[in-house]
Amino acid sequence: MSDATLLTELLSAWEETYKKGQLTLWIFMALKEEKKYVEEIKTFVEEQSGQSMSCEEQSLYRNLRKFQHLGVVDFEAGKGNKGPERKYYFLTILGQQLLNKFIQRNISLFFNPKIKNLLTTEE
């Protein structure tokens, strides 16, 4: 196996593991921005992640159902562009608290200058 192939394979394997569990953060960020219906959440996740995250609508619905059951997400019916009413999802107060705590404990550390410097890639 050439070094280039090995690099691609390893990167792919690392990303597969890394991306597991990332969808929640992306969904929460999408809903933090504003209320969204499923299609908009999907577009947000894919565009803002630079297409590195992809999500099926079915998977989004499954996650949103769980989050609603847990009380971190809720929805309200709103008008769609055309056709039937849509479910516009939003973060509840508990959901906002959860996201804030998660960011504080797991994301903010990446903004520490030392870590930020280490994250700067060298070609």
Partner: protein, 139 residues
């Protein structure tokens, strides 16, 4: 938490029909003393029950990962099988070679198995938040 989900209701309906068909077939075959076909019927019934539980159970879990889903499917199977069988005997549709004692003994031994499953389920539930296993919340 939902007492019974749509998929569990579909499963209960399907296995009620399967169990009724099984009891009907079993009693008739026994009356005809066709003992070899009884084994075939029992095997087909068991396979169909397993396939129903496997696929509807999988669909149920994919739709919403309640931690108690597996136990609920087991409980539904037990309740449907025992109820249909008891009613079958009550209405005296059974063959002369069938005895109510067999259903009662099945219910007792299977009931013990169900109880063991319940104890394991209670342990698993400790690891759940609002009925969803911790590992499945943010998967």
């Amino acid at each position: 938490m939902k007492t019974i989900t749509k998929n569990q209701l579909t499963f209960a309906t399907l296995i009620s029909i399967l169990t009724l068909a099984f009891r009907f077939g079993l009693s008739n075959l026994l009356d005809q003393r066709d003992f070899l076909l009884v084994w075939v019927l029992a095997a087909v019934y068991a396979i169909l029950m397993f396939i129903s539980g496997y696929f509807i159970g999988k669909k149920d879990h994919e739709s919403f990962p309640y931690a108690d889903s597996g136990f609920k499917f087991h409980l539904i199977t037990f309740v449907v099988f025992v109820s249909v069988s008891e009613i079958w005997y009550l209405l005296e549709y059974n063959s002369v070679y069938e005895y109510i004692k067999t259903v009662h003994l099945t219910a007792i031994f299977w009931g013990i198995g169900l109880l063991v499953h319940y104890i394991f389920f209670r342990r698993t539930r400790r690891n759940a938040i609002k009925g969803i296993d911790r590992s499945e919340i943010f998967d």
